[in-house]
Every structure is written in C-alpha cells, then in structure tokens.
Amino acid sequence: MLTLADVHTHYAKSHVLHGISLEVQPGEVVGLLGRNGVGKSTTLKSIMGLVRPSQGRITFEGRDITGMASHKVAHLGIAYVPEDRRIFKLLTVMENLRTGLDRPGLAETRRKELLDKVYESFPVLGERKSQLGGTLSGGEQQMLAIARAMMLEPKIILLDEPTEGLMPRMVSQIRDIIGRLHRDGVAILLVEQDVGLTLGASSRCYIMEKGLMRHHGPSAALKADPSVIHQYMGV
Amino acid sequence: MASQTNHKFWISFLVVVAALAVAPLGIPEFWRKFLTEILIWGLLAMSSDILIGYTGMVSFGHSAFFGLGLYGAAAALLVLRSPNLWIALAVGLAAAAVVAVFVAYFATRLRDIYFAITTLVFSQIFYVIIFTWTDVTGGENGLYFSQPPFTIPGIFSARFSTVTLHWFVLAIVALSYLALRRITQSPFGMVLQSIRENEPRTRAIGYHVERYKIVAVLLSGLFAGLAGTLYAIQHRFAAPDFVFFTVSGEVVIFNVMGGMGTLVGPVVGAAFFLLLREGLSRFWTEYYLIPLGIAFTMMVIFMPQGLLGFLKRRVNQ
C-alpha cells in the first residue's frame, strides 16, 4: 500500500536520508527503530510531504506521492502524529478534532460515530472538550494528537514517538490504542525509541542507522534474538 | 591571479571614471546636470547597499540620512555670511551622523521587519518636523541658498561651472566607491555578509554582531548624508520632499534592480531607474511608474539578484 523506494532527503543542508526503502501493507503495524537522529522522523516527514525528497519515489496505493503537498497526502488517507504532538494549543479539544472532522462528504451520523468512538477510547478528551489544547497535560495532548488523526479516518497513521515523555500508565494506553486501530484495519508506521512496545505491537520492524535502512525482519525474530537490536541501537 | 583581477578592476574603473569625466563635455546642459545627479543618487544607492545588500538589514530610512545631509548643508550655506564648501560638507555629514547614531541604536535591538518599519517611521518623524517647523526649515516651500565656490583655503577660489561641479562630484563619488569597496572586501565586510547569511551562527562563532551592525549603520548613514550634501550643493534647494519616504523607496528600488551586495549594482540601478523615468515620463507622464513598478515587482520575484546578477550569469554562460 505504502512504498518508499530509495528515498534521499536533505534537511537544512544535511543529507539525512541516504536511500531509504520500506513498505507497509494494508492493516499492518510496522515498526521503525533506530537511535536518535538517524532520520526516522525525516522519513515520516518525507512521506507526509513536510519535506521534499531530493531523490527516490514514494507511492501510496499505486499513486506517486513524492513531494506531494501535505494536505493532498492527508486527503489520500495518510495521517500524521508528529513527535512533539503539535496540537493546536489555542484551539479547544473539540476544535482540534474538528480540523480533521470538518471534511466534505462526511455524513452527520458518521461524524457523531467518530466522535463517540474517540471519547470512548479517550474519556479524558470528552471531559475536556471545551478546554484549550494548551492547557492539557503532555499525555492528554498525545491522546488528542492521535484522536485528531483518527478523525481523518485514515488508511495509515504515521506515529512518531508517541510514548516519548509519557508515564507508564499512559504508555499502556497508547499500546491499547495501537491495538484498537490495528483491529479496525488501520495500518500504522510506528517510529519509537521504546523497543519493547514496538516489537510487541508490530508484525515487522525496520531498523535505521545514519540515514540508511540496516535491517528488516519480523518482530518475532527480533524479539527472539536481541543481538540485532543491540547491534544497531546499543540497547 | 589576484593581481590580474586587480589589474582588470583598476583598468575598468579608470576607464569608467574617464568616460564619466569626459561625457559632460559633449552633451547638452540638461543632461550634464542629469549625469551629475545620477552620480549623487548612485552614491546614495551605494550607501544603502551596505545595509541592505551586505548586512541584510533592509532600511526604509535613507531619506532621513539624505535629507539631513541636505538640510545640514543648507543650514551651513545659509547661516554663514560667505558660504563655504567644506563647512557645508562637514555640517551635512555631522547632521547625518547624528541620525545614524540613533538608527544604529535601534539596529542593535530590532531585527528585520521591526527595524525596517522603525527606519520608515524615523524618516517620517524628520519629515513632519521639517515640514511643520516652517520658521526654521521653510516648511513646504523649502530653503533656497547659494552655491559655495570651490576653495582651497588661502590659495584658490573659483565658482563651479556645471562641468567642474560634475568633476567635483565625480571625484567624491569615485573616492567613496573605492573606500566602500575596500571596506566591503575587508574582513569587516566579510563579517557583515556573514551576518546577512546567518546571524545566529556569526554570533555563535564569537563576533560581536551588534558592534558590526552599528558600524554598518554609521557608514551607511555617513555616505548617504554625503550624497545629500552634494545634492544641496548642486541644486541649491532643499525641500521636505527629499526627506519623505519616497526617496527611501526609490533607493530600495535602485538596490534591488541593480543587484544587492555588489556596490556597482545599485549605481547601475539608480542610473537605469532615473534614465527610464526621464524617458518614460515623456510619453506617459506620471504613469511611468505603472510599468516600472510592475517590472520592479517582477524582478523581486524572479530576478532577486538584480540586473547585475542577471548580466553576470549571462556573461558566465
């Protein structure tokens, strides 16, 4: 469904991605691991059109989306939850959700369904519906960022380090959400530092190092043989 | 290699100066004065290039420096019983320097847009003061004064003719160009350009960016004031119009059209603009600004390196 072929990306004068290839099938949860600064976030940004690859191709459902404008990428069914959450701090929770919900062609009933589902998965957001996004705690903002992406009813969600800086209780909530999304048939490309969570949630994993894809294999195998993880992540 | 380019530079420079010196001899009176005026505006454009082109600080306040040089010289020429060329120059420069100090202060505290707007406001403050303080400045009607003779104290004194004044202005502008060129090619000039490229990095390397900015503003202001003083001497007339924003705007146009950060570019831009204005306004009177404005805006978008940059590219191809 989503394919990256030999993608090179430059970011602020440095050559960050040196030929990244990966793919995600419909409904799959795929992990992307690697140390800090190897280019995991840049990979997601390249897919989303936030940075333009200098070389290579990105295809989604057969369509070439390399360098496509972000809003068009979003319309095709790719949602993005960035590393620093980046919820709209001066909009209320409800308004944040509406940025994804206010789509042409979305029936009123479906709107209600989506909202109910989100409030069910994240009751906290329901409580704080009219509060400004900036007043939420870090964990709540993460919930909101994911909920907001879900409003787009995407085919794949690009999750960038969702558990960073969160308390263990929140982390398990994230784990549950990922599971729930997977059950709903949404594919996920999960960038994480938390190796355990990633291996548990995903069926396959890629490992990056210095802008290159170094390893790729089933998560079960990586779990069974931790030496590969050690090699590339020093964990 | 360096001395070869140096040779080339000096040869072309001397050729241009010689051409400009000889030119007025063969053309009608109106065009002689026009040529002198082009030189003066060229000097103003060069002064602005220091700020805009080299340091990356867009200023809309050059009309203040120019205007105060103008009125400063006017004051000197009016007040003294026997108007003196050198005193007029000195007073004009001093007046411009005072303004430059103020602007320099703001330069260190404000960045980009805020600096640009502040310089604009500054020149408007002077405009309003000059416009309304009619007792001192003659207000709207301006000041008329006489042209001082060229004097070498104790030795020589002679009135200027159109041609000799032209040579005097040419000499000053040429010397100013050489001075500015020296400065921009010196380590100091390199730091200025580094500030334009990446100010935080320049600061991080250890340069005291504020000090460089202050000097850049002072230099720019002084040479702009010099241009104003020369204008006063040539035209014997000062009016608030010269302190109005339009002058600053035109200077920016010279810079952009000619090519920022090249010193020569803005002079070319000034010449180009003034000639175009003179030519077009014969057909279209005031409306010349419509095609010119459109051309200017297009250049900002598509040819940000200006005419000179564009020509350089062509020549290199």
Binding site: S70, H71, P82, G100 | V58, A116, I129, G249, I301
Partner: protein, 287 residues
C-alpha cells in the same frame, strides 16, 4: 477645556474604529502568512475610489460598500496568487519590498483609472447632533459602529465558523494544518482576500469623512503598521485596542499641536513599544 478633551475622546474613538478595521486586516494577513503588506493602505484607497464610483452611479451607500469590498477582495486574491504565492518561503523582507512595488503600481493605477481629483462620498447618515459646543455629524458615530460591526462579524466568523477553525489552525501551525488536510494555500488566498475586503470597507467608511486621494494609501499603511506592531503582530484583539489607543493619543495631541504634528505621537508610541515591549503593548508578557 474639559469639553474639548471629551470631544477629542469621541474623535479618537471614531478614528480608532476605522483604523482598527484597516489594521485587523493587516494583522490577520501577517499572522497567517508572515506577509507585511506594504500595499494595504492602497487597498483602502482603491476601496474608497471603487465605493465612490459606485455611489455616484447608484446613489446607494450600502451598495457602494458591498461592491467595493467584493471587488477589492477578488482583486486582493488575484494579487496574492500572482505575486505573493511565488514568494512563500523567502524571507519576510522580500515580501515587504515586493508589496512596496505593488503599492507604487496601485497608486499610479488609481491615478490613471480615477483621475487626479479627490473623490467624495456623501454621508449616508445625514444630520448632526449637539456634542457640547460642536455640531457633531451622526455619520461619524455611524462609521465607528459599522467598523465595529464588521470587526465583530470577523471575530464571530473566526471563532465559530467552520472555516474560522481552518484559519485559526493555519495561523497557529501551518504545517500541521496542512497535515490535517486543510488546504493551506487556499486559506492563505482567502485570508488575503478578507484582509483586502476589510481594507476596502474602511476606505468606503472613511470617504464621507474626508476625500479619497490617490496617495492617501501611504498614511494608512504607516498608521496600520504602527497599530499592528503596538498591538502585537498577529493579535487581532491587540490591534483593535492599539488602534483606539493610538487614535486617542493623536486626538489629544492635536489639542496641543497641529494635526500634522500630532502624528509624531504615534511614531513615538511605536518606538517606545519596540524598545520596551516589542511583542506588543496589549499582549501579555510572554513567559
């Protein structure tokens, strides 16, 4: 003396409201796309002329207001598409120079299109009332109320309208707004059009108070810049308060000095703001 101060207070508030209308368009545009629109005052001027022509032809002030706003809105959108969109990503100083070029063209175009004579619009609300020692035109109050109504409508639109959320989201974080599927380039053009429409409307409101001339734009642009900086760039509420503040200052100052000198007060206010509270006088100090 006290009466004079009260009269000037009313004057200041009236002028302030019209200025607020101009400034809110400018700050909206700046807040969302980092464009300092040097030609904003000229949009006011064009609006004034368009309105004057419409009123002269139809005799209807409200029609003039509507036609001017819509025409200039469309014009603004075209302007943004042709000259400002190519400049996205370049530094803001380039846009200020580009809009300066546009300003020159607009001024001379107005001269060409509308001629050198100043235009006037007769006051739609006739009559005067007694304000202390003066006969004060009703229209002045009417203009202030209208300006306030338009700004109020803008506020409501931004707060509660569907597209209001788009605009606010894009203003806060244009990258994430785009990632959420919001068509940011379209939003930019729309906001510029809205800002242009507001400028045009203020031109029409202003016209019955004084004449519309081809070079009045610069004064408006300059004042609007000052208001936007003093109010905090991108801050809508701040620019309204700042507009009132600046206009009141100028009104009081013109009791002491001549009106053309009173303008220095706003210059000084700008400089002091930049020196001591550069984020804006009416913005809470950032932490």
């Amino acid at each position: 003396m006290f009466e004079q101060i009260l009269v000037q207070t009313v004057n200041g508030l009236v002028n302030g409201m019209v200025l607020a209308l101009v400034a809110s368009g400018l700050t909206l545009i700046f807040g969302i796309m980092d464009v300092v629109n040097f030609a904003h005052g000229d949009l006011v001027m064009l609006g004034g002329f368009t309105g004057a022509v419409t009123v002269a032809q139809t005799g209807n002030f409200w029609l003039g207001l509507l036609v001017a706003s819509l025409t200039i809105a469309v014009f603004g959108a075209l302007l943004q598409l042709s000259t400002l969109r190519p400049l996205i990503g370049r530094d803001p100083l380039t846009t200020i120079i580009a809009t300066f070029g546009i300003s020159l063209v607009l001024q001379k175009y107005a001269l060409w299109q509308f001629g050198p004579t100043a235009r006037n619009i007769p006051q739609p609300i006739p009559g005067q009332f007694e304000l202390f020692y003066l006969q004060y035109p009703w229209y002045r109050l009417g203009a202030a109320v209208l300006a306030g109504a338009i700004i109020g409508a803008l506020y409501l639109f931004l707060k509660f309208g569907k597209y209001g959320i788009w605009i606010r989201a894009t203003t806060q974080d244009r990258v994430m707004a785009s990632a959420m599927g919001i068509p940011v380039p379209l939003v930019h053009t729309a906001v510029f059009a809205i800002g242009a429409a507001m400028a045009a409307a203020s031109g029409v409101l202003f016209a019955p108070l004084a004449a519309v001339t081809q070079n009045m734009g610069f004064e408006f642009t300059l004042r609007a810049f000052i208001v936007v900086v003093v109010g905090g760039m991108g801050n809508l509420g701040g620019s309204i308060l700042a507009a009132l503040f600046i206009s009141l200052l100028e009104a009081y100052a013109s009791l002491v000095v001549s009106p053309s000198q009173a303008v220095i007060v706003s210059f000084v206010a700008l400089i002091l703001t930049l020196l001591f509270r550069p984020t804006g006088l009416f913005v809470p100090t950032p932490k």
